[in-house]
Symmetry: C2
Subunit: 400 residues, 2 copies
Amino acid sequence: MTQTDRRVLISAPGKVILFGEHAVVHKKLAVAASLGLRTYLHLEENETGQCRLHLPDVDIDLTWPLSELSLNVDRKALDTDHPDNIPEEIKQQFESWMGVTTKENQRRAVLSFLYLFFVLKTDKPASFGFTISTRSTLPVGAGLGSSASFASCISTALLVLFNHIPIGFTQSEKKESYLDTINRFAYKAEQVIHGNPSGLDNSVCVFGGALSFRRGERFVPLEGFQSLQLLLTNTKVPRSTNALVAGVGAKKEKYPNVINPILDSIDNISLRCCEAFKSGSKEDLAQELEDLVDMNHCLLHALGVSHSSLEKVRVITEEFGVKTKLTGAGGGGCALSVIRDDVNVETTNLVAKKLAEEGYDCYRTLLGGTGVNAVVLGDDSLDQTWLLNADRETLESHAI
Amino acid sequence: MTQTDRRVLISAPGKVILFGEHAVVHKKLAVAASLGLRTYLHLEENETGQCRLHLPDVDIDLTWPLSELSLNVDRKALDTDHPDNIPEEIKQQFESWMGVTTKENQRRAVLSFLYLFFVLKTDKPASFGFTISTRSTLPVGAGLGSSASFASCISTALLVLFNHIPIGFTQSEKKESYLDTINRFAYKAEQVIHGNPSGLDNSVCVFGGALSFRRGERFVPLEGFQSLQLLLTNTKVPRSTNALVAGVGAKKEKYPNVINPILDSIDNISLRCCEAFKSGSKEDLAQELEDLVDMNHCLLHALGVSHSSLEKVRVITEEFGVKTKLTGAGGGGCALSVIRDDVNVETTNLVAKKLAEEGYDCYRTLLGGTGVNAVVLGDDSLDQTWLLNADRETLESHAI
């Protein structure tokens, strides 16, 4: 296998908001953590002179001769504060390469790739070609950071491909600096996808572990953070994050003296979570997290962002003594349940079965997955087809 | 019919806590209101020389010759700050009249009667006799003030019987003063029954309408209070009020910065309720009460005093757009649902049917029933048997 044939498996975790969703909009502290569920990116360098972008999760498979992927304008024009502000003629060129990608999520996925490609590309031989394929074990649009996870992978792939960072960046002494670089470009990709993201999602996906954050301040890694077992339930009830956020705002305006203390209480739940990781024994920690999860959910319900499906998940898990809260925007979407170490596998299986019977998707995973990672795949058989067909355990065992 | 044959129907409403249960223990404002569900007391004066106390709800039917109901000690000894502090020899005499009333609630019902009887009795001819029969449409031990309602009726009956107040006290110019007197003795009876009651329950039962209260302060009638339709659901799940109160205290101790703002929020919910009655139009009022009911329940849930049965009631009523909160101690017990004027009868029937299918008892009634009342029954046929067998509508039509 030559250098140009190398295959790289890049992966980045999803994220989940542990505490403080909605309250964070009103400058309260929130805590988010990475997940065991990840997005995987298979990067194959070859000598085809072609670039193939294969994103089966959003039904994209585009191939361009690399000789055609060139801009008529100065590349420096891409260096704007927000990718939306690039010159109109570049946007038009991007659109011309887009093909028949009519759906907005397809368009934005391809655009984020093209944008980073032109920002990061360096000179290569004429025969140089590559294929990028991705696959995610994260549900899309469920508030679990699937786009940030994708953005982190794409950013890493292009940084590695054009030799801005070494493949072994996680083993490097300069790891933190490399991760900062990945995160900076992942944020750019997130801007292309989401407009004005907070930067939290990509930070969690890139660095892994858990972060606390308050609007307008820097993210702070959680001291003493420990991995925890988690059951995620996707109710698959669609909802509008914007409408839910607006609803809380309207309630706060109508009942300020009722809502403001609720937001303060949530602020203190997030603070307590940070303290619990810093100082608690694993048992105390589990107990406290259960208490905080339960209280935070009730407060979110008081804010009006729960949903009958989420309440049903809580009733089902509560029967087994498992504490659950909504995570993210609410109004449907996902619920997270903390699984204590002393909850046996049979119980967790039974809970998951009962939830599945209601038509919900269940994911057993860990809170606090490793951040973005890249490994060289030595075996030629581990190609794109393998990526698309391998089960989750196999992917995880190769990726981290 | 002679004067000594007169029959009087006395009645007093139950009470429901609208907002602020549990928080009130921590000096937050609470709001309680009377109910359309009442306790009825049938007082018959006769010339049997006997006193009959007939309380079928607690399975009591005792008859004493009035000549035997006399104390060996000075009656002034009854004038203590708390009925528990009366001399031991009086207690022993009370016990000797008790008969085979082994259950604590039976004992306390009879004791409260005997205590008030000796405090209030005046000289009467030797032939003087009377029968007191009671019947309640309130569920017992469900946090709906059944004992305070009973205490208010007994207090009124004995005050009327011994001519301390006129039967027509509600039409009198001195009504307020008479109600104060009734309330003072109703509180004494509540002390016999409950030990250390707050005095809220009997105040609501005696005065009717709605009151706000904060521990250590005087009760304040709600300005502009309007009657509202209510659905009460008794889950019949037994619970210990003391254990629930202690649980909230323990949570407050463990998570003060989380729980204190929740209690503040509840305080402001009660305040907002008072303001809403003072200033709101009926439609705004209904909307606001629904919002406050919903938020207050979620906050009580956050305090840990809900129960799966109460959550089920909320899920069922929510399907019909009806807002529900637990009322009283929680952990089971009763839930109250606000029924807006624009909710049609069919919907309310359907909700009640669904709740009954779960095994719960449903009561459709009004918030803000009239306080204690007494009417002379002109018709001889309206005797104790009538009282025990009449339906709720018939009793209500005679009593108020």
